[in-house]
Point group: none
Chain length 147, copies 4
DNA sequence: GTGGTCTAGACCACT
DNA sequence: GTGGTCTAGACCACG
């Protein structure tokens, strides 16, 4: 699977939880990438921050070192990180890249949502109404202690 | 792949376009199933409607006959269709099933959208605002003939 | 190593021979990629051509199947090939991509040559003269049967 | 890495810029060696000239002192420099060595260029023409202020 | 048959 | 210590 594929997969949203799901069809390395990417997008990880070594990453996520290495390899493909040989892997320092990433990903999420809703018959405004209703009901349920 | 897997994949939203994408990571048979499911949900295909034979399906979508057969096999597993031996495959006649399907899928789409947006730092109301803005901008661009 | 790195490495010219050199510092997968890329550039492999399966490739080059898989993975990164799951890997059908590839690579070779020559004191015209002389001497040696 | 390896790498042309690139795959110590070698070849550094101490070198290039030490170690292996214990490191005084170095490296550059061009279908004369054209275009662009 | 993923463990070079 | 590469072999899903 390539950089292109990874980006496509991210756009498609092949992810489940922050905690890895080893049984989901989604590749582990993608799940980890998405977790890290989200931390970068939210500013939890800042430009130039050192990422854990691939060996540490392997331990943190209980995955094989090779899989961890692949995570960083693909992230570098995507321009999310860079490597100093013998020193470590770092979050990209191109802040525009990170901003662009957030915007792109947000747009993708919305386009994906709208596109899928349209496929089952909802117009754009219907999407808004549907979401409004969904959130209100969710809120009501929470207030009533239904959860 | 089992029925459970298929259902999970549908929930994850492994789909791209009505036109099949043979190079995407998403399995062909899933893409076809989702296409048919969407037609059922939107009422384009009605309960009891006869579906094309798997051979016809293979031709229509330019896919391998084995893949077409798998489509119907999985759809039957999911309760979306049933088979009359020697006669053909038909859309399920359980209307509640179809209604439930639409509701479930819609909820899943919205939950997925909200969940992903939250991961990159958007609250529930922020999701609404962001979507509102996105749709307005899209509309404005179309009106200005930017597309 | 990432797509970016691969492209950079190709530009740097980490290669030795058409036949793989397992002792050179250049990664095997890169050597194979460059071999295939050259075949594509020269038209030896045409757009849409099916490439050998990764298992076949592994046998042809006497490398591990994983290494062969990496070759195709990186090539897809670079836009040199695409994959139909369960069917095989194919040379990209974007002819412009291939043309651009040839032009880019040729320019890179020349820029690299000029840049390195300048570093050791040769001006642009001196590069031409030096190369002219080099080729003439080579020719003379061959004609005199020195090889 | 041994002297042999270093020599091979130099022949392959693993270098980028006078300014070091810490993210390129090319080893830092090699980049520094090539920089110093180029200065020797061009006469910028003369036979017998004192080179900066490895500590100074480390500071000048912002590299690890161990890396700086390795630079001199490998250079001595290659016969580019010699060390007077307690006094410092000096450019070799064997002028023939330096001359030979320049000739060898120049030939290597040209052979490398020709070899790579041949791989993508250019004959020897075509190489000359291509280079001629490339330089002319470059010149024209500069004269037109395109850069 | 195809490619994709993962584990396990090794070796290497660089800092 | 770091990352990079390679081998070996396994399992899976897809067509």
């Amino acid at each position: 699977m390539t950089c292109k594929h990874v980006t496509a997969a991210l756009a498609r949203g092949n992810e489940k939880e922050a905690t890895l799901d080893f049984t989901s069809g989604s590749p582990i390395y993608l799940q980890v990438i998405m977790e890290i990417r989200n931390r970068i997008i939210t500013g939890n990880l800042k430009p130039g921050d050192k990422l854990p070594s691939s060996r540490e990453l392997a331990i943190q996520f209980s995955i094989n070192p090779n899989t961890a290495a692949r995570v960083y390899s693909e992230m570098e493909n995507m321009g999310l990180s860079y490597t100093k040989r013998g020193i470590g892997t770092f979050v990209t320092e191109e802040e525009e890249k990170i901003l662009a990433l957030k915007e792109e990903y947000t747009s993708e999420l919305m386009e994906e949502f709208i596109r899928k809703m349209k496929k089952i018959g909802y117009g754009e405004e219907a999407c808004m109404e549907c979401l409004r209703k969904f959130l209100d009901e969710k809120k009501a349920m929470q207030e009533n202690g239904c959860i």
